[in-house]
Amino acid sequence: MNSVLHIFVKVKDHFIINQKLNLNITSNTDKFLTRTEKSVTDFFEMIAGLFQFSFKFLKEIFIPPYEVEQIRKHMIELGMKTLPIVGVTGFILGLVLAMQLSPVLKRFGAEAFLPGSVGISIVRELGPVICALIFAGRVSSGIGAELGSMRVTEQIDAMEVSGVNPFRYLVVTRVFATTFILPILTVYVIFISLIGAYIAVVLVQNMTWDYYLDRVIFAVEFGDAIPGISKTFVFGFIVGIVGAYKGYTADSGTEGVGKASTSSVVVSSLLILIFDMVLVKLTLWLWPTVK
């Protein structure tokens, strides 16, 4: 009898433990689902907010007064701030790319194509995208933190109260500046990358700068350069609008500023890569000669 009772108690305990485990699993699953649901909702809310913010930008950009002085100031400031880091990155990019490509092309007996292939890679894809990503890391976070801190210390409210449109003064000027300074930086990065690649080429082949440049110009067509540079206007806009949106809508407190700064970099980098994919496809579709 005792042993039967013992078995019964064991089974009951086992059942209760299982039930408890099941309950835990359910509550953990619930928590996970709630968290996932929140993340998905937040993501779509952010995308909707970004669209709304972009439309507001497009509306406000045509309304005077035009803050030309502020745009000029931001272009110089943002450009100068990013110039050294994109320069160094571009130089290393060209150098490494040529070093990597050289043995591969040698294997196929196509060493003569090294300047051309490096040039095309840099002009069409690597130069614009790498420059945009570095720019996003440097500038988008800066704009996010600056506007976020202005939001939490009520400086944006103060501007609004004094009868000034803070969106036009703070957002439009910065987005305009990033949109037009990035293509200029990209041209600079492409040039520096080609110098870097030349140094790598000289290390393995006996080639003059004139010949190298001639090979690059021969390989790179007008149709390679235009889409490559053009898409950086879109990347520049993304960097500016994401940083400004994150900062302008930052939550109160220092945590809000930190979040605005970090998420600006993450979102703008992600959007740059997504838009790059779309724009490359679009370019190949609209402009078949660059195939």
Binding site: M150, T153, E154, Q155, D157, A158, E160, V161, V164
Partner: protein, 250 residues
């Protein structure tokens, strides 16, 4: 000058303003009292539409702020000064640029006229030497003074103060309160001051209202409110008095 009618505001179902109504006469100093979180700052921000009220009317100089278009609202805002709790000075600009900012944006003044106005307000707040300093180089009290100077530089008809003495030591706090009164007389302004600082209220107030749970629970002369037998007021002001007796400067 100001008429607030049945103002309601809630955040995610949490009622902050629950049918607030009061009037402020021209050149009057009205103090809004209340414990932290009773909706004082929200009331002030709804008055100037930094926050949209859920319902109710805010009539300033005969215009209903809640129904104005942005352009009309910005025109009205030119006649209103606002001193924020943390002064809200623009970090990237010097004191001079901070003071010139509302003038450049809203008035077509020559540099000579702007300089005259800048010097006048800096003199009024006794900070002429800070003209070329950056906000980061100023102390809390100095920031408040410059914030005050920036608010009155446009000669507003109405001044709104959000906790003007919060975070300041008792002496500076008293100085700021006296400065508010001096500026009010010099610039002939109507003022609405949100505070929980009794000393500040005693110096500034012509009349006061007390907010509790989003409703006005008392209105009248500050002396009468302080000596009221109403348990809520007694409790509220006794805490303040205790704080005063614990070392505040009278």
């Amino acid at each position: 000058m100001i008429e607030i009618k049945d103002l309601h505001k809630a955040f995610n179902g949490n009622i902050v303003l629950d049918g607030v109504s009061f009037t402020v006469e021209e050149a009057e100093n009205m103090v809004v009292f209340g414990r932290s979180g009773t909706g004082k700052s929200v009331l002030l921000k709804c008055m100037i539409r930094l926050m949209e009220a859920d319902s109710g009317d805010v009539i300033i100089s005969g215009q209903d702020v809640t129904k104005l278009k942005l352009k009309e609202l910005n025109e009205l805002r030119k006649d209103i000064g606002f001193l924020f709790q943390g002064a809200a000075l623009y970090d990237s600009m010097s004191v001079r640029e901070n003071l010139e900012f509302p003038l450049i944006r809203n008035f077509k003044l020559s540099q000579v006229e702007m300089d005259k106005r800048v010097n006048k307000v800096l003199e009024a707040v006794s900070l002429e030497e800070a003209i070329d300093k950056m906000p980061s180089e100023l102390s809390g009290g100095m920031r408040k003074r410059i914030g005050l100077a920036r608010s009155v530089i446009t000669n507003p008809k109405l001044m709104l103060y959000d906790e003007p003495t919060t975070g300041l030591d008792p002496i500076t706090s008293k100085e700021i309160s006296s400065l508010i009164i001096d500026l009010q007389h010099a610039f002939k302004m109507t003022s609405v001051v949100v505070t929980h600082d009794l000393l500040c209220a005693k110096i500034i107030a012509d009349r006061a209202i007390v907010l509790n749970d989003g409703k006005i629970v008392a209105e009248g002369d500050i002396k009468n409110l302080v000596t009221s037998e109403d348990p809520l007021l007694k409790n509220f002001f006794s805490d303040e008095i205790i704080e005063e007796n614990n070392g505040r400067v009278q």
